[in-house]
């Protein structure tokens, strides 16, 4: 199905429209499974009791027996980019995740998730560089595409009824490609660099229910190295294309720590509060103009069902809202690239077993106009299908 969809789409392969994706391995994906996008990305303390929570492997300790989850998400984004006087509107649509989860026994569960970890998609023109040894300059256009994907296996175990531990192992793989079109005097020099990355990562999680209406949780992601192999293709006006293996830099994914709380003031109302920090500065990724800095992310979200099991359909719909604020992982020319996001969504029940169609809309801003940076205003529509199937249990009534 995925292969077919690639053929139907006649456009390019860039899965992002952010010029900021030129840094590192691209723009990290901020999406998750189920309802996570609608609640501002929060939910570290949320149990996977009716849909998969991709934020914390410990949540799988709560997957009910005989249930099987299938989670599929896509999103479309409309980017409005501004820099100084220039603006531009761009659009993309991507797959957010494909996942499934199932219990192993009454205390534990396993999930397998495939999702993009980071996306690269930019088209930057008119970059001016100086020709060393003279006063002349030459111009470049740079186009980047590609993505790094993650396939992850989560395992969650309920040590006690109110204490769950989790472990996950990830395999990262992907390819990014940057093509630089240089015009030097009357000559053109095109340099295409393809980076192939592979790496493995390890995460841990914990969830603790203090009582029925308060749970605390934490996650820990260990740093991971994405090893790179790079091939360059250099074509120029005269002379044949040079194909050579060049030295690509490995990329380090940072140590990440997160804490979350889930509060249920009432049965049908839940509030989630998350804080996480990614320690990018330890990865020593820096060059003259941009630095990776430690990133703090604050998320808050809430869900509300008017009347669970009510007669009317809309009474069973889950209404969601969320907000997050991100101090950013990039500092460019001394200026931090911060972002915030506001989200609204609904979960529409589509089966008696708890399957839901989750729709959400988010509006966010990334970056700012000061110091020549680019400000992105992003509208995101996410559509997620969370199927919760009952296995090995015959329905009582056909």
């Amino acid at each position: 199905m995925l292969l077919l969809s690639n053929n139907l789409c006649a456009q390019t392969n860039s899965l992002s429209n952010s010029p900021y994706s030129v840094y590192g391995i691209g723009t990290p994906s901020r999406f998750g499974t189920g309802k996570i996008n609608a609640i501002g990305g929060s939910g570290i303390a949320m149990k996977s009791d009716n849909s998969l929570n991709s934020l914390n492997p410990a949540s799988l300790g709560a997957i009910p027996l005989n249930h099987f989850y299938f989670d599929l998400g896509i999103n479309t984004q409309i980017y409005g980019l501004s820099e100084g006087a220039g603006t531009s509107k761009q659009f993309n649509a991507t797959l957010t995740n494909v996942a499934m989860a199932f219990p192993l026994n009454s205390r534990s569960g396993l999930a397998v998730t495939l999702s993009p970890y980071a996306n690269v998609g930019y088209s930057i023109t008119g970059i001016e560089n100086s020709i060393e040894g003279s006063n002349a300059i030459y111009t470049s256009d740079a186009i980047g595409t590609g993505s790094i994907n993650e396939i992850r296996v989560d395992y969650g175990y309920g040590l006690l009824n109110n204490l769950r531990l989790g472990l996950s192992a990830s395999y990262f793989f992907g390819k990014t490609e940057q093509t630089e079109y240089n015009t030097i005097g009357n000559y053109s020099l095109d340099i295409k660099k393809q980076n192939r990355y592979t790496g493995v990562g390890l995460n841990m999680g914990l969830q603790y229910d203090i009582n029925e209406s308060l749970s605390l949780a934490s996650i820990l992601k260990f740093p991971a190295v994405l090893k790179a192999t790079q091939n360059s293709y250099i074509s120029q006006d005269y002379d044949d294309t040079i194909e050579v293996e060049t030295s690509g830099d490995d990329f380090m994914l940072p140590l990440e720590m997160g804490f979350g709380a889930a509060i249920a003031p009432r049965d049908n109302l839940k509030v989630y509060l998350d804080y996480s920090r990614k320690f990018w500065s330890n990865t020593a990724e820096t060059d003259d103009l941009s630095t990776l800095i430690d990133q703090d992310i604050f998320k808050v979200g809430s869900t509300f069902i008017p009347k669970p099991n009510g007669i009317h359909y809309w009474q069973n719909v889950e209404y969601r809202t969320g907000f997050n604020y991100d101090t950013g992982y990039l500092e460019i020319a001394g200026e931090k690239v911060k972002s915030y996001n506001l989200s609204l969504g609904v979960g529409l029940p589509i089966s008696h077993t708890g399957s839901k169609l989750n729709l959400s809309y988010a509006y966010g801003q990334n970056g700012s106009l000061s110091k020549g940076l680019i400000r992105e205003k992003i509208h995101t529509i996410s559509i997620n299908l969370s199927l919760d199937g009952l296995w090995f249990v015959k329905p009582k009534y056909q």
Partner: protein, 433 residues
Amino acid sequence: MPKNLYILGSLLFVLIAFESCTTDDSSFPVGEDWVNGDTRVLYIDTMTVESGTFLFDSIQVTQTGRLLLGAYRDSVFGSTKSKIFSRLTNSVYSIDNDATFDSIALILRYDNYFYNDTLSPQRIKIYPVTQDIVAEEDGNYYNTSTFDYDKTSLGDVSFTPRPIRDDSLHLLLHADFGQKLFDELQDNTINNSDEFLNSYPGILLDPDEDNTAILGFQSTSLIRLYYSIENETGSTEDVIDFAFDASNTFHNISGQRQDTYFTNLNDQKDLVTAEQAGGDSYIQSGTGLATRIAFPNLSGLSGIEGSGTLLYAQLGISLNTHELSDQLHVGDSLVAYIVDQRSQILSTLYDYDGNAAYGVITQKEDEFPILTYTLPIHYFLDQKAANFNGENWYLALISKNFNQSVDRYIFNGNQADDDSKLKIKLTYAIYDN
């Protein structure tokens, strides 16, 4: 419920079908602050290029359209002399018995080329050649080819050259030579071409060493015998033309180079460096003096680390304008060959277009004009770097009419002013640091 699922499933399928689609409406222009790539582009014009002068053992002069005749003394190049060996052709083997010989003359048709001072009278002697004028084994004549001749001259003439104003030069030869030839044809001593060539293998036109000019003549020059026939009404005049056989007529050009920088160039592999020759390199057409350029190795330049590729390369060689004069003109382009360390020609210099590369003159309009020939050498440097014997590749520069002119060129070496010294300009891109 299952129906809802099918609808939802198809809806999702359609939506997923647009996975990995992006519109590419407009690229985003940003400044240099944004992207710091690995690519570096360098402009380098500070590499040291060495030049020198060598002498071709011989240069081929078969069927040059122009025949050079004359001699002159040059303060830099010594004395230069060009003499002409010519095989004659004849088609008249019977002459009326009543005809009488009038005179015989050498008619040389100017081709407008001249070198050095044409204001003074020039003197040449004409001798009979006693050896058959035939090409060397490979079918060619060379500027060093020579044939035996009889030291008794057929003519000894002085004239004031007027290569532009006049069409041709008319030089009277000794009457007894003409009479003898006339009689042999009239008496049928000579009846055909073989007998003619047996008696008259050819002529040598030998300029006096104290001449001050070298002149160019067309190969359609000839010897003309005038005779007349008396009859009742008067006398009619007629001629017999002995045209130069263009395929077997050539000029022998030589130089006397004692007391010049080039006195020790005895073999083609010998080289006089610019340092040894007043800081300059030289070309003298006709005699075979040529400039040779040595190129430095591109890799190992300080500051060039990483893998890169050459985008552009050009050689600039400038005339030493202190040595220019109106009388001693130069051409507007130079021809280049790739030669080895013994100055043997390996091939013509080509450019990436596939065309032979020439050095073309570019002139700066200035109070003190600088005349520079520029030559594209990108392809040459790429080939040189890739060839296993590339370190023994040099470029030889000669003038355009190298085998039918005596033009001299004096080029600045690498020690002259920055504007006019021998240099190469490179644009080099590094894509992997």
